[in-house]
């Protein structure tokens, strides 16, 4: 979501000027919550954190183009810089600070053993252009992770290089397109089916590859409507893209029949593996008849993500799609590992490269560390605990909030907004009030098939007493909302955060995408003027 400065409360008049109206303090700070200016609004020209020697007097070769003026960099001491960035970092909310219930994003704890392994000199100091003979261990690590991903999914092949979930979707759908091409069916199979509750990346991926997307409705149990799916299947359908468990947090109980119907129609089954964390160690998607699936290492296997670390989206492939896996392929010849990039040396007709180098090495290392440290029994327990936590939240809230569907859920608990009916409080207001209670809001208004959706994914990371407090906060908010007199209070939330309710509409309609110094209005170029 785009956010911008709230100028009505913000720093337009300078930090001190905005302070009094903001929090009633001289500084604008609220206890130790510091009102932080932009770095360009700080410091004094000419101040410098390091003592550099005078440059030697040499004749420059710039032919009169040497810059005479300053370029407008802020002048700051080292403590000022350190304090500025430390204070900014404290404004961030992170999984290391508490419950992060953002459904569909799977914000689980990043075990520190993963970080320790990733920082080992032989791994952390690798360079992708090192000679292959010096990175044999790293290639073996990639292959070892590939082995476990194939084993856990029950699939014969995996493409390791895709950089994120959506990139993995692109890879898998390109493999399907290539397989259709090879069969001479690419031209006639132009339709990709996707449930209405799909992640937005599914139809976007299909459309980017030139397919037409046809939505499949859900039944009243929140699952794919099998009859509607069968009716939509035909000789023009290339594939179905289906998430399991789906974005409503429900297992697609008819998935085997879905997969059979899709294959009987000559189409392929792309499974979106974003929610694999709910079934890892318990279900092998290959047994359900899928043709390919991406695995978000940053979700299921705990590598850091969310405004921070990069993702990684390896794609497991069926035997039919394996020949189209993109480069690079890690191959073992005798006792030596090598990186195969030559079509003549691999068995297939690869797509070429989807990414520079070998994929997200740092994520591979952490994911493998997660798998090895958990073991088979531990991974199974990861899925069980994630599902147990979500059902605990669901069970503890279902008498006051309104579950979107009846029955137990998988790894996320989905509520609609019918419990807020006639209270004047919307899903958005409810989520903002959670911030005042010290909680990052859950995912809201997604999936779109549920009115005013609130999607809570506690993951396996939270202890029972922490979930209990989270549940207590939501029950308290629900009670307050239902008094019918609290709408204004909710509309005013959050009240205790560094910024109040941001004007998201204005931010989206008229985004301010760059800061300009007050003496350089839009249209002027401070860099150019500085040089003049």
């Amino acid at each position: 979501m785009v956010q911008s400065l709230d100028r009505s409360q913000g720093r337009a008049g300078g930090v001190a000027a905005s302070a009094a109206s903001n929090h009633g303090t001289f500084t604008g700070n609220r206890a130790l919550q510091i009102e932080e200016p932009l770095i360009f609004e700080m410091g004094q020209p000419g101040r410098c954190g390091v003592d550099l020697p005078e440059p030697p007097k040499v004749k420059d070769r710039l032919n009169g183009l040497r810059r005479a003026g300053t370029i407008g960099l802020p002048g700051l001491s080292e403590p000022q810089v350190v304090q500025h960035y430390t204070r900014l970092s404290q404004k961030n909310y992170a999984i290391d600070m508490g419950v992060y219930p953002l459904g569909s994003c799977t914000m689980k704890h990043n075990p520190r053993i993963n970080e320790k392994v990733a920082r080992l000199a032989g791994i952390g100091d690798l360079h992708p252009l090192q000679p292959v003979s010096t990175v044999q261990g790293a290639l073996e690590l990639i292959d070892r992770l590939a082995h476990w991903l194939k084993t856990l999914t029950g699939m014969p092949a995996v493409a390791m290089s895709p950089a994120a979930g959506a990139h993995g979707e692109m890879c898998g759908m390109m493999a399907i397109a290539a397989a259709l091409e090879a069969k001479g069916e690419r031209a006639k199979r132009k339709v990709v089916l996707a449930p209405e509750s799909a992640h937005g990346t599914n139809p976007a991926t299909a459309a980017a590859l030139g397919f037409t997307v046809k939505p499949i409705p859900a039944n009243d149990r929140g699952r794919v409507d099998l009859a509607a799916l069968k009716a939509a299947l035909g000789p023009d359908v290339a594939a179905i893209m289906l998430t399991n468990p789906n974005t409503c947090g429900l297992f697609e109980s008819e998935i085997v029949e879905i997969s059979k119907a899709v294959h009987d129609a000559g189409a392929y089954f792309y499974c979106d593996g974003a929610n694999f964390n709910a079934i890892v160690g318990r279900v092998r998607p290959g047994d359900l008849g899928i043709d390919c699936m991406h695995i978000n290492l940053h979700k299921t296997f705990s590598t850091p993500h969310g405004g921070g670390g990069p993702g990684a989206g390896p794609v497991v492939l069926s035997a039919a799609l394996a020949p189209y896996a993109p480069y690079p392929w890690i191959v073992k010849d005798g006792d030596k590992w090598r990186v195969a990039e030559d079509g003549a040396k691999v068995d297939g007709t690869p797509l070429g490269r989807l990414k520079a180098f070998h994929g997200q090495m740092g994520m591979f290392t952490r994911a493998l560390a997660y798998i090895m440290s958990h073991g088979a029994d531990g991974l199974k327990q990861v899925a069980e605990d994630a599902v147990l936590s979500a059902n605990y939240v669901m069970a503890a809230l279902k008498d006051v909030m309104s579950p979107a569907f009846e029955g137990p859920c998988m790894h996320e608990a989905l509520f609609d907004d019918s419990f807020l009916k006639d209270t004047g409080v919307s899903t958005l207001d409810f989520a903002k009030a959670m911030i005042d209670e010290g909680y990052h809001p859950m995912t809201m208004y997604f999936p779109l098939v549920v009115h005013g959706a609130m999607l809570i994914e506690p993951t396996e990371s939270q202890a029972k007493e922490d979930l209990d407090q989270f549940i207590g906060a939501l029950r308290s908010l629900t009670e307050r909302a239902k008094t019918g007199t609290a709408a204004e209070e909710f509309k005013a939330a959050p009240r205790f955060s560094p910024r109040r309710r941001l004007d998201e509409t204005l931010a989206a309609r008229k985004p301010i995408l760059r800061w300009r110094p007050s003496n350089h209005p839009p249209g002027s170029d401070p860099m150019k003027q500085a040089a003049e």
Partner: protein, 125 residues
Amino acid sequence: MAVTKYTEEHEWVRVEGDVATVGITQYAQEQLGDVVFVEVPAVGRKVAKGEACAVVESVKAASDIYAPVAGEIVEGNAALADSPGDVNAEPTGKGWFFKLKLADKAEVDGLMDEAAYEAFVKSLG
């Protein structure tokens, strides 16, 4: 005499002669919330009935707008590029999306009239 019809996709279609003006209903704009971006189809584009031909994006979601009837686009509402809020303020007035020249005037007859649409919205709860 202009006739206004409605679709289950919450679009209204106002027919004057052989030109239909298309927009989204009051119910649709309420469901979407504040509209922040609208993309209208290019003039001259031929659209089939049910074809996605415009996009509306709100603070909550991005949605396709489907051609309620077949025809050729004769005008897109260019003003929406700068003031997408018109869709919220006047969904059936200034907030119209596009005009198309009807391929088959009879297609309009298959759409809902106002009473039928109101009943349809009611049935959604």
